[in-house]
Symmetry: C2
Subunit: 296 residues, 2 copies
């Protein structure tokens, strides 16, 4: 029996399971181990120092259990903890934000204007991590917070009229904010140029980036809603983008091996709740969840 | 200058500010001190031991700063921590659940059937603390979880069509569940009695109890929605009920004194965020928020 590579996946809760799902599809030759720090979620309201301490302990726990690469499948931890952990962790790390930004840039290569609308949680938007990561790839990102989409996914309302109406409101507000921001820039340029004002073209992003690991579960609903408020554009989700990125790093795992991929689950709180909510995110059954302690 | 009585109010976050608002209206002769453990919210997903430890530290912090009575303005902490803290705390404690249940019983005194529909968060429902507290007062409580209402309040959608539609769905589901539960009991009694089946009267609760400190901000919306799905019934909220209960304990503070009531605010995370969100809950401006540490 040949030794298989084990990939660790970490999130504060359940959202990272959409990343795990994308990883299992992209890397059928790998084994996986998922750790959700469910006792201490959400990370969005915690300080950078706290998130770094918790994430560092989780990465080390996954490494100690055999992970040869760890995916930080959590936007908050990718934004706040990854920069310093990349220097100290004893295992290679991959974050969701950089992967999402790189994929947006790839899709927009050669596009007339490289603008992305990033939908994310309030904590992620306030960190401006996507704006920075996109800018490094030559993409201008407009970030818009959609606080109700995560609780709606957790309520199971992934194909619900209320979620569609809420997404419509967020997208319309995002376009208004984007047009206002662009308008302000245009007015300033116009004033400086001394040229007469002209009717402005309505602006819209060239791409929508789903910058929250819960949102892939809303992808069909969001694609329909996007098409109802603007000209249809490509939608990139950072879960799929992360899986593609990891496949690029470990191309030998893109082919299925002789063994069935192993999948282990760990949580820091209620295994029963993890199993129940986790199966909805993973869209397959979860046999067993180990309760682990990460107290540092 | 006469010494004024200082009342401490504790919550994991912002919801307890609706209790503080009710307290200031009911007790104009008192000074107040509010502590939100915003760095460690939400408590709903934490164990009883952890919630008790955190709540105990908060109660002691309020006592050390001069509080002569502490209101646990948090449903989770009232359910999980209050029973043991009542024995160890060095200051009298009042919780929101017992006050809400007592008020429901008072309103239903002499009613033909003493049934209450309790709307609350999932954590509060799973604890069945309202069911137990209501039963002790001779009221049969049906508890129904409304997970999206808290994030909708925090989004500021307290008078929004989406919140009204969501509340309608929750109330309709709650009535269905209540009728099913009652139906099952009736069927069993009928089978035992040997009598022929008859058309059943549609059941509905005699009262709706708002068992979450966020819900008073939705009270007008919820009252309209309740009237649209059933015969209108009294609505009791545990925030107002708690203030009434404290006024009963400290009747001398029901009259305004010569001094303007003092109000201090403390939070364990971002004072700026507390001020911003807190003003929405309190419906008045917050001058200053002290950052405090409760590490135990």
């Amino acid at each position: 029996m040949s030794k298989r590579t084990k990939i660790g996946v970490f999130d504060s809760g359940f959202g990272g399971l959409t990343v795990l799902r994308a990883l299992t599809a992209a890397l059928p030759g790998a084994d996986f181990m998922y750790l959700g720090d469910t006792a201490r979620l959400p990370y969005g309201s915690k300080s950078a120092a706290t998130v770094t301490k918790y994430t560092g302990a989780a990465v080390e726990a996954l490494r100690a259990r055999g992970a040869e690469l760890v995916v930080i499948a959590c936007n908050t931890a990718s934004a706040l903890a990854l920069p310093s952990l990349e220097e100290t962790a004893r295992v290679p790390l991959v974050g969701v934000i950089e992967a999402g930004a790189a994929e947006a840039a790839r899709v927009l290569a050669g596009a007339p204007h490289r603008t992305a609308l990033v939908l994310a949680t309030e904590a992620t938007v306030l960190s401006h991590a996507y704006r920075a990561a996109c800018a490094a790839h030559g993409v201008q990102a407009f970030e818009h917070a959609c606080p109700l989409l995560v609780p709606m996914v957790e309520e199971g309302w992934t194909d619900h009229g209320i979620t569609a109406q809420t997404a419509y409101i967020y997208l319309r507000d995002a376009l208004d904010a984007m047009r206002e921001e662009r308008g302000a820039i245009s007015d300033e340029l116009l004033a400086r140029s001394g040229l007469p004002a002209t009717d402005e073209e309505p602006v819209q992003p060239a791409l929508v980036l789903l910058g929250c690991t819960h949102y892939p579960l809303l992808r069909p609903l969001l694609e329909r809603t996007i098409a109802s408020v603007m000209e249809a554009v490509p939608v990139v989700d950072s879960s799929t983008a992360t899986a593609e990125h990891v496949r690029g790093l470990l191309p030998e795992l893109a082919q299925a091996g002789d063994d069935t991929p192993a999948m282990e689950f760990m949580a820091t709180d209620s295994p029963a709740k993890f199993k129940h909510l986790g199966e909805r995110f993973l869209q397959r059954s979860i046999a067993e969840v180990d309760l682990v302690s990460l107290e540092v």
